[in-house]
Structures are given as structure tokens and as C-alpha cells.
Symmetry: C3
Subunit: 335 residues, 3 copies
């Protein structure tokens, strides 16, 4: 029998140590953005840059696609996600990693017969995957899955919980455009209370010095106190505002999310339309600033902005490919 | 920013020219059967013949499966289609092209959160696919997708609109059996008004000389005037008939489709059963004629006909594999 | 035309012989566990052992993943099954076989338009797959599919009918633990009347000498007479019991299944809880015995038993990978 003990650790090699006879098996799960310190972030981002370069060259692209041949991952998705699933699977294929996939495990798998995610993991652990990528509607479900898994698990989003590769690609996009993740003025707008991406990005940025965050939302959807405390304790300054134009006027990064109108008490109470980005509202945004959004968007960024050179949300989504390649490569490289 | 302009062109290199600085990037979408002239058709059909031959030989089959290794396509299906999706994916694998796939994008993807197909394409464009194969329930949706895509798009059927690879495999099957696409007598039967496959095939055949088409249906499901005008202007003769047996008696090709009985005003008004092909109804069909059907069939061709040597509808479906290989090879070869 | 004739045969090369001109093409379907005699079982199990060993070594694992490159299978699943589908697909990838897949063919395919499984097979037969793996909710559907298929079909479960690879992995797990499939005392418990896995395993074990089976259930869910007759005629002894603890006290193998409580007449009539395995109920089970379960389980084996060294149900599921590799390898090796 295995005796199991929890350890905290400062990088990908995470939270658990299996003691089996005298062997120590470190299982590298990616469950939370908090596992990533600046050293590990740099390593991942550098590798992502490297992979993008390799993919630009025909020959090195082909060679890369054989790097991990003979390995496989499983994408276990309990709810819809084109973007995340397809980019993980494409990332795998571009590294020569085979993919088996379930698009809607909640509906089509043993889960519909009452199997727990722990049992599902026990079974999938037998198939020799190099990683299991999980999307699940319940907060904490992926952590529970990782707790019983000897195969590395990557969290591809668990409800209102975490979506660490999204935070990675967000930060990576900023680094790509500015060459740094410090000394930045970042506007975060929309639904700051329920949006997991803004919360994760704020936590990640708090690791770097001299950032200043401007939260723009309506009072009832403002950022929660826990994140504000974290920022304070890390020395990251921030302010809160409901004045979009002013906030944009001297920022480097605008990270926009959907302000879900159904959360507003009375539609007449507040002009939520003021929180949709249109050409007019970004007229004071500096020319070298960038506009990000985790996507999908509905109305909160007007299509007329897509052709603005500062709009980087589609490239941002694309950066997810390189980030996921870097992660898969790191994980598969250790198996 | 890109300045974009529409051009018409006579082959796969379609409708759009991107002008970016001084570079001209031709994006090769396959949206409509009208993009294919006889020269391009010949090229595709010859390559399809070639691939079939290569697959027959163990060694060349294996070699072929490495031809495009390191490349990937995405199959983005917003509605059910086993045949089309699986044959595209199999075609890709037989050429060494990796596949990421979504079986029911409408239900399981960001589309369910309100994302437009244009935004979905903007994201998928970032993943470096060699082609994106799209099936969509709305007429024109694939053209809209192609309009914003720098990755080649292949239309795998958009509602009542187009399904160009079906028309290609239909024509390819005829060429395979007769060695030509001219000087043929073709019976087209069933639902000619709403069936997209008969409309596309008629347009394709109008490019070849001396064909004669006999439309067999009930008056309210007869071929629309636009196709009849096209046939007239191209010099392709045609006639309309409700007499199935007579129409079959001297034809080369019978292209049968389902006459949807729910479209008939009153079930008693018309004997729709007369439009189901049975042994009796093909007794006058020449021995060297062939029977085609786009499949799936329900009752409109009796199972007793499957063993008739003139029944070619299953081989016809199989020809879709070679046609899709030829298309993917052409498109991937240019990337 | 093909003239077709049925033959019975004693191994994988099954039930049909195609006579086409002078060629004889033997199509190797896997429809029923009854196709497997002890000689063939040994061959499959030895190969499964071999593959497990090869996968343990990095280099031979990689080499194995190229063994059948250029070949493809299709997984055609008409109903949910994570475990079975993913393990077939993983098995294929580990042998270098490409996979095209449909996760819920009943909902997403031409079947929803009324296509018969026979027509679906006729089409899939054109795509040059090395095998087609089918899961279907109707008993006998896979046999019907195989009857019209020239591509090898593997039954991945058809309703209350057969699920031969489950029986194979069950028996394989026993052989792995005891080094033999004879001279064993096997307790089979739970729903013996409707459970297809216990029925198949009993039939398989009846081929080996000196086994003794103890059926443990409530009277109305006891094993049917047909299996009992088969056991008798093969010389396999058995008994029936409702006393779980006593049955376990001198057994080698406990094969447990879910006793579906909704089948009990009145919940008060019978203490079905007595049929859930808990620590207390296995206290007399010999130390070298093993506990198996086809999974997924709900409550019928308490989670507290998972850490008992005799609990082998997760490894049992994992053995499905090696068994399916052995089968696919045998089938693909002949194409």
C-alpha cells in the first residue's frame, strides 16, 4: 500500500509525494496558478517563445512533431470548451503526442452511470497517459482528481475555481508585447467578482514588482477583498474606478471581461452599456497599449475594435497554443 | 491593418486576396462547387485515382501516411454527420495529417455561449491548422467563416446551401464508371427542389458537353428555374418527367434522392411510393447504367437493389475518401 | 456478386467466408466470447503480457508505437462508454494505429436520420479501416453489423448481449494473479440474471478444468438456467448461495457486480445492503484472493476496500489496455 503525505512546493512538482518502498515519485500536476513562481513562469514563457519560432520553420516544425512520439494524453472534458480542448489537442499533436478525447464526459461517460471522478481517474491512470487534461463544472473537482492520480493532471478549468493555463497565456501575451511583467498599469474591467480569469491574473501579476491595477466595474461586481489583500501584502498598488475613459487614458494593458447584465439588479439602475468597449470609449487609450479578453466575447467588445492594432485578444487565444505546448513538453519530458 | 479586396478567380485559389505590406497571400478555400472548372476537376480526379492506387499497395500506403506528417486539420462540425466527418478525418490520417475534431460544435462549444462563427474562426486561425473543415446548419455560414479566415476552409455542408465535396465525389464516381463526364444521359430523381446534391451535380455537369438530364419528380418538388436556366445557357439539354420507368429505360446514370413524403400535400393525392426504387422499377434500366444516391437512404432505394451490380452508392460514398484526400493533399501541399 | 455462406469456426477467423471469384477472404470479427478457445486465449494473453512488458521500457514503447503506422481504426459508439472507447483508442495509438471516432453515433450520426447499421457499415467498409469497434444499445446489433462487413468488427458491447473484450480482460486478470485459469474457486455476486459480464466469464471459465463457481445473489436475480446447463455439461461445478460471508471464506476470486436495487420488489423485503462489499464482509476472504468488478461501481464496493491489496478492479480495467492491444495487433497484423 502507498502511504501518502502532502507537501507544499514552489513549482510544478506539486503538493504530493508518493512514498512507495524507497521510491519517491513526484507527480507534476497543474492545478492552480499559485504553483507558478517567477522562475518557473520564465522557463515556461521562454519555451513557448521557442516553440513559436520552431513552428515558423517548416523543417523544425516537422522535427518538433516527432519529439514525443509514442506518448499520449487524454482530454477529459465534462463541459463545453472548443478553444481550450482544441488548443491542448493541437499542442499535443504538434509535439508528436497522441490524443484520446472525450468531448462531454458528463453526458457520455460512466459519470452518467454515477461513477465518481476519483474512480474515473483510477481507471485512466492505468492507461499510461503522459497527462490527463480535465475540464469540470464543479469548483475543486480537478484538485480532487489530481489527489488520486499518479498521472499528471492539468486543470483546464473547474467551474468558478481555477483555469491556470488561461492565466499563463494572459501573462505570456503581456510579456510578449511589453517584454516584461513588471512596471505595468493594468486596467481590469467587467465582472471582477465572479470572473475567474481576472482573479488569477491579478494573483499572478502580484509576483512582479511595481505593477498598478485599476479595477473598473460597478460596485456590486467589484473585486473581492481576498485579492485586494493579496495585492496589498505583495506591494502591488491598485485603485477602483467606475470611470472607464479615465482609467484607460494612461494604461498599458486593458483586460476586459463580460459584465453579465443579468447580475444587475434593475436594468435601469445602471448603464451597463458604458462597460462595452467601443471605438469611442478607447479614444484615449495610449497607442502602445493592448486590449485583452479571455473570449468568448458577446457584446462587451464591439467588432469595430477588432481591426484596431491594439486589439490583441485573438493573438492572446493563439498564445494558448504555445503555452500548452510548453507545459505538455515539460510534463512529457519527465516521463 | 490588412486591406482586403474581393477577386473572382477560376480555381481553388479563391475569392480573396490579402494585401499585407507587399505580400500577397492567396487563401485557398473550398466553399462552392462553382470554384471548380473542368481543368481543376480533372486534376483532383486524377489525384484521387492515384491515391486509390497507392492505398492498394502496402508499402506505398505506409509511405503516403507520412507525406504530410507534422500538419494538422480541424474538423468543426455544428451538426451531425458521420459519413462526411469520418471520411475527412480518415483522409487526413492516410496522408499523415493529424486531426483535432469537434463532433457537435453547436452544442458543446463556445457557440453555446453566444460566440459568432467569425470569432471562432479568428481563434482557430491562430492554431496553425492546414485546413479547417466546417459543417454548419445555416446556409452561407461557411462562406462567412471563410471570409475571415486565413486558414483554408473546406465547406462540408452548410444547410440548404452547398456541399462541394459531395458534388465532387458524385461526379468522380461517374467518371470512374464511364471514363467521361460528357455525352451522358442522367436521370435525377426525388426531391429536386430542396435537395442540394442534385442542384450541385447539375451545375457541375453543365460544364461538360452533350449531357442530357431527365428530372423525375412530382410537380411541386421539380427542379427550380435557376438551375434550368443555367443548363439552357450552357447548352445542356434536359426534360422533366413523372414517368420513372420510361426515364430509366435509356439512361446511363440514375441519381436518386429521398422524396420527403412530409412535403406532399395530402398523402392520398399522389403515389409517392412510385418514387421508391425497387427491382421492378429498374427492370428497364440498361445493364451498364449505374445507380447513385448521396446517402443516407431510408426507403427510397429498396435493400433488394443493393446486390444489383448497377448499384454503386456505397462505392460512391467510398470515393469520398479519395476525393477528400486529393483536396487535402492539394491544400496542405501549398502550406 | 458475392456468394456468401456461413461457416462455424473455432477461432477469431469467424463465421463467414466470402467467395469472390477464386479468392477466399476470411474476415476476422470479434463478436462473441464463444469464439475464443483455450489455445487462442493463451495466445492473446501471452501477447498482452508481452505488450505490457514492452510498454515498460522507453525505447521498446516508442518502437511499438510505430508497429502499425499507416493503419487506422474507427470507433463507432452508439452509447456512452468512456472506459471502453478510450482504452481501445489508447491501445490503437500505442501500436501506431490512427483513430477516427464517434462518441455518440446514435445522436450525432446518420442514424438520427434513419440509417440502418447495415448501411452505415457498407459505407465505413469503403474507408479502408483495419477494424471497426462498435458499441450499440441493442442486443445483436453488432452481429448484424459484422454480417455485412468485410472490415473486421470488434464488439465493444451490445446491450444485454455480449462484451467479449470485457470477458477477456476479466479472465486475463485472473491468469495474471494466479498464473492459471483452472482449479479456482470463483464467487460471482450481484445481479447474475441481467449482468452480461458474469454470464460471459462463467462461459469462458467453463473451458478450463476443475473450476468451482459460487453464485451469490437473491433468488430473483440468480444465474439463468442456460449458463448452469453449460457449466454442468462442461464438468464445471457450481453452487448457489445467499450467504456472502461463507461464500467468500475459501474463494480465490470474488467477481462482484452491481445488484440493481430498483429490481427488488419491495425495498423492505430484502436487505440488499448485505450485497454491498464492505471491510466487514470480506474479513474472512483469504489473503491471496482477489476482488474484481467490471466497473463502474456505485455503492456495491465501499471505497474503504480500494486500499485493500486484494482489490484488483482498477488493475483489471487497466488490463483492458493490453488485451485490446493484443486483439488489435492480431487483427491489424493480418491486413
Amino acid at each position: 500500500m502507498l502511504s501518502m503525505q502532502d507537501f507544499s512546493c514552489h513549482n510544478l512538482r506539486t503538493t504530493r509525494l508518493w512514498l512507495n518502498s524507497c521510491d519517491i515519485i513526484l507527480v507534476m500536476h497543474v492545478v492552480s496558478i499559485d504553483q507558478f513562481d517567477t522562475k518557473l513562469l520564465k522557463e515556461i514563457f521562454d519555451q513557448a517563445d521557442n516553440f513559436q519560432k520552431l513552428l515558423d520553420d517548416k523543417d523544425s516544425k516537422k522535427k518538433l512533431s516527432e519529439k514525443h512520439s509514442g506518448k499520449q494524453i487524454c482530454t477529459l472534458f465534462y463541459e463545453p470548451s472548443t478553444r481550450t480542448r482544441l488548443s491542448f489537442e493541437t499542442a499535443a499533436l504538434k509535439l508528436g503526442i497522441g490524443v484520446v478525447s472525450t468531448e462531454s464526459a458528463g453526458q457520455f461517460s460512466s459519470a452518467s452511470k454515477g461513477e465518481t471522478i476519483e474512480d474515473t481517474m483510477q481507471v485512466l491512470n492505468q492507461y499510461g497517459f503522459d497527462a490527463i487534461i480535465i475540464r469540470h463544472p464543479e469548483t475543486g473537482a480537478v484538485k480532487r482528481a489530481a489527489n488520486v492520480s499518479q498521472t499528471p493532471v492539468i486543470n483546464a478549468g473547474d467551474g468558478k475555481g481555477e483555469h491556470p493555463t488561461q492565466a499563463l497565456l494572459d501573462a505570456y501575451t503581456i510579456r510578449k508585447e511589453f517584454g516584461r511583467l513588471d512596471n505595468l498599469r493594468i486596467v481590469m474591467g467587467g465582472d471582477l467578482k465572479y470572473g475567474r480569469t481576472v482573479r488569477s491574473l491579478a494573483r499572478l501579476l502580484s509576483q512582479y514588482p511595481n505593477n498598478h491595477i485599476i479595477f473598473v466595474s460597478i460596485p456590486k461586481l467589484m473585486m473581492d477583498q481576498d485579492i485586494k489583500n493579496l495585492l496589498t501584502s505583495s506591494g502591488t498598488t491598485f485603485e477602483e474606478s467606475t470611470n472607464l475613459e479615465q482609467a484607460l487614458s494612461d494604461s498599458n494593458v486593458v483586460y476586459w471581461t463580460r459584465l453579465q447584465k443579468e447580475r444587475l439588479e434593475k436594468p435601469g439602475d445602471f448603464d451597463s452599456a458604458g462597460f462595452d468597449l467601443i471605438k469611442e470609449s478607447i479614444k484615449n487609450l495610449p497607442l502602445d497599449a493592448i486590449i485583452l479578453h479571455p473570449l468568448p466575447r458577446v457584446d462587451e467588445i464591439a467588432v469595430e475594435i477588432d481591426s484596431d492594432p491594439r486589439a490583441k485578444y485573438f493573438q492572446q487565444a493563439g498564445n494558448g497554443l504555445y503555452i500548452r505546448m510548453a507545459l505538455l513538453d515539460k510534463i512529457a519530458g519527465e516521463s
